[in-house]
Structure formats: structure tokens, C-alpha cells
């Protein structure tokens, strides 16, 4: 389909993820690199350093004293949190704009991205995943495909919406049927072009569980649950709404009961006001 070729060409219009982000992610995944190695990479980027300090000193973290160096930030908050900040900052440029096709105002897709990343990181902690940073990043960028697909969804919205409302399609299934590709699949292609690791590519591609096999992957399960929690809470909810499939078996495999699900919602719900503060400084 030529439409898909056009779509793929548009990936080049996204703001590229800075090379430093890939370097940091590689270092985090590489067991041989130390905390100082990673702090060093950050240190050499003045823009990222400045942004980290701004975020550290925001009301979200409510630290007892001012942070004024990367070293300080790492000591006070831990390396993981600092890396999260780098990732958030680098994701913002592409995700902050409104996406009219999806009925999302400026900042809504971004709010969804950050919220699901925070929920996913929490869950990753609880479930003892080895890939916390990767989960955070994948959650943050999982809907990047929407940024490209937006115009196409807008153009064929009535067709897509009809399939969802009248034929029982999920929004993603309707995207695929009408446009030829869905936002998750397209996100996977973006991740590929950005040289992300195969695991990360798979997580983004499978955040709505496109491939049956991905349902066995712990990290993908966590990503999936975080996305569902955001949908239920209406965080950054657009015209696609909650029209995605709920796979109860995946929650079961992850060991999430209905009560656990409510608890996740309750605890993130109490964080919402703080998260708004964080969004102001990214």
C-alpha cells in the first residue's frame, strides 16, 4: 500500500531522539557499566544537565534542599530517577503537541505518556523486573505512532469510528483495517529507525498485545497494565477512548487481581496533583 510508504516517510519528520539517550540506555542495560559511567555521559550534555536540575528542584520531588549538580542529583535521588528525567525530557518534544485526529489537546498525549511511565515503573519495581528503565522508556514512547498516524486517523475518522461503534472493532483494529497499519505497529517501526533494542521495539509494537507471543513477556505485560490503568483513569483520553481490548489472562499471568488493579488506581490517583507539577517543568 502506498499510503503506508507515505506514513513511513513521515517518521523522518519526528524530532530524532538525541544520541545521548541511546548511549544512556545502552549503558543502563549493560551490566559492565557503572553508575559513574552513566553520570559521566549525562554530565557532558549541558542541556540535559540543566533540565535535570530544573526537574529535581520541582515540587514533584519535594527535596529537602536544592540540587545544583548532576552528582548531587544522583546521590539524592538515585541514578534510576535521574535517567528517567533524561528520558522524559527527550520524549516531550514529539509528544507534547495536540493530536487532532485522535481528539487530543496539547499536552494530553504527553500527560498519558508520563503517567503510564510512572505507573509502569512502579509496577516493574513490585514485580521485580530487571528492565525498569526499558519499561519506563517504552511506556513513555509507546504511542509515538499516534503522532504520525494522527492526520490519517483524522482524514478517515468516520470510517474508523463506524467500525468501532457498529462492528465491534477495537480502535487499533479499525486503524489497521482502514489505514493499513495501526499506531502500535507504526510505533515499532519508529523504534526500529531510532535504533532501539529489539526488546524495546517489541514492547512498543506490542503495547496493545498485537502478537500472541508477546503476552508471555513480563515487561510487555507491565507496559500493557499501565496503559490500561491510564485508560480507565481517563488520563489523556481521546476519541479512541477505551476502545482497546482487555486481556484478563495477561493480568492473571502477571498476578494482578481485580483488587490489585483498584489499588494501583488508588495509589496513582493520589499522585495526580504531584504529577501535574512534574509536567509543568519537563
Amino acid at each position: 500500500m502506498s499510503a503506508i510508504k507515505d506514513l513511513i516517510k513521515e517518521i523522518d519528520n519526528l524530532k530524532p531522539i538525541p544520541a545521548v539517550v541511546n548511549q544512556i540506555m545502552d549503558a543502563v542495560e549493560d551490566s559492565k557499566s557503572s553508575m559513574t559511567d552513566i553520570a559521566e555521559i549525562i554530565l557532558y550534555d549541558p542541556v540535559i544537565t540543566a533540565n535535570i536540575l530544573k526537574m529535581c528542584n520541582s515540587a514533584y520531588y519535594a527535596l529537602p534542599r536544592r540540587v545544583d549538580s548532576v552528582h548531587d542529583a544522583v546521590t539524592m535521588m538515585g541514578l534510576n530517577q535521574v535517567v528517567d528525567m533524561v528520558l522524559m525530557k527527550s520524549g516531550a518534544s514529539n509528544l507534547i503537541k495536540g493530536q487532532e485526529g485522535y481528539g487530543l489537546h496539547e499536552g494530553e498525549l504527553w500527560k498519558h505518556a508520563v503517567s503510564s511511565a510512572l505507573i509502569a515503573r512502579d509496577l516493574a519495581e513490585k514485580k521485580g523486573s530487571e528492565h525498569k528503565q526499558m519499561i519506563f522508556t517504552a511506556a513513555l514512547l509507546k504511542d509515538i505512532g499516534k503522532v504520525i498516524l494522527d492526520r490519517f486517523v483524522g482524514d478517515s475518522f468516520t470510517k474508523i469510528d463506524d467500525l468501532v461503534k457498529k462492528k465491534g472493532f477495537s480502535f487499533k483494529e479499525a486503524e489497521k483495517k482502514v489505514i493499513g497499519i495501526d499506531h502500535a505497529e507504526l510505533g515499532g517501526l519508529v523504534a526500529e529507525m531510532w535504533d532501539f533494542s529489539p526488546k524495546m521495539i517489541s514492547m512498543i509494537k506490542n503495547h496493545h498485545l498485537n502478537d500472541e507471543a508477546a503476552r508471555d513477556d513480563l515487561e510487555t505485560q507491565i507496559l500493557y497494565v499501565a496503559d490500561n490503568v491510564c485508560m480507565m483513569m481517563g488520563i489523556g483520553g481521546g476519541a479512541d477512548g477505551l476502545a482497546y481490548r482487555f486481556h484478563r489472562d495477561v493480568l492473571k499471568r502477571l498476578g494482578i487481581s481485580p483488587l490489585d488493579l483498584q489499588e494501583i488506581i488508588a495509589s496513582f490517583g493520589s499522585e495526580m496533583k504531584r504529577v501535574e507539577e512534574l509536567l509543568k517543568v519537563i
Partner: protein, 159 residues
């Protein structure tokens, strides 16, 4: 003047120039009440059905749950002179993800909790737009009591 009712939040008002609005209800439920005689209105945006899952959070923020938030909403409106017998009651939200069944269906459980409470207390719902897979936004003009709902991707409608 526009006042935003956040997630797990509640506001009542008798200020004729005030508009109460709550955005993007997914599985959460928005309850709007209005007594036209005294021009008192209120809005609640709760997330979960029962406070027993976390008593501590419920104490800190009763608006998070149906069983603590709804009584609180009504009591606050009574405090401004509203009466239950004159109250208009509108309920929206409680959406669900496709195939989200049984105990996992939080939108539905949110709705059931409300119905149970209303039934026990003889509260009649005047208008209800609940369920489905859509996000809803609702607002009320305190001066007129007019209530508007917007489903994302659609134009706003007056209820």
C-alpha cells in the same frame, strides 16, 4: 469563572457566575447535582467503588470512592441550603475497556456502587449517560443549572 473538579475531587457552589467542570471521565464517574430553587450545585469525580480497599486513602480523600464521596457531595450541598427532594441528579462516566468483564470491570462496579447507594437513600437519577468505551467531560453552570456533556471526538450536548 471556571472551576475544575479534578480526579478524586468535589466542589459545591452557590456562586451564580461559577461553572464547575470535570474532564475526561474514563471508568470514573461524575455526579452532578443541582437545586434550582436555591441555585446550589455540586460535582463529584470519583475513581473507585468502595473505600474499604484503602481506608487510609479514603480518610485523606473521601472523593476517591463512591461510598465516601457521594454522601460528602450531598452533605456539602445541603450545607448551602439545597434539599434532596428538589435535587436534579445527573450521572455520567463509568466507561469500560472492550471485553473488560466481571470484577475487573471497574466502570461498571463504580456505577453499581452508586446505584446501590441511591436506592438505599431514595435518590432518583434524572439523567444518566454511563458505560460504553468513551471518555466524557461534564460541566454545570451554577447560575442557570444548565448541564453540558462532551464525549471526546463529538460536539458538546446539553443534557
Amino acid at each position: 469563572m471556571k472551576t475544575i473538579v479534578g480526579v478524586s475531587d468535589m466542589k459545591v457552589s452557590n456562586n451564580k457566575d461559577e461553572v464547575l467542570i470535570t474532564y475526561s471521565l474514563g471508568s470514573c464517574i461524575g455526579v452532578v447535582i443541582y437545586d434550582s430553587q436555591v441555585k446550589v450545585g455540586g460535582m463529584l469525580h470519583y475513581m473507585l467503588p468502595e473505600s474499604q480497599i484503602d481506608k487510609e486513602k479514603a480518610e485523606k480523600n473521601p472523593y476517591m470512592f463512591a461510598d465516601t464521596g457521594i454522601p460528602s457531595l450531598f452533605k456539602s450541598a445541603y450545607g448551602l441550603g439545597a434539599l434532596k427532594s428538589r435535587m436534579k441528579v445527573v450521572v455520567v462516566g463509568g466507561a469500560q475497556i472492550l471485553d473488560q468483564k466481571g470484577f475487573f470491570n471497574i466502570g461498571k462496579r463504580n456505577h453499581m456502587a452508586l446505584r446501590k447507594l441511591f436506592f438505599k437513600n431514595g435518590v432518583i437519577i434524572d439523567h444518566e449517560d454511563v458505560g460504553g468505551n468513551v471518555n466524557r467531560t461534564i460541566r454545570i453552570e451554577i447560575g442557570t443549572g444548565d448541564i453540558y456533556m462532551k464525549t471526546s471526538g463529538k460536539v458538546e450536548e446539553k443534557l
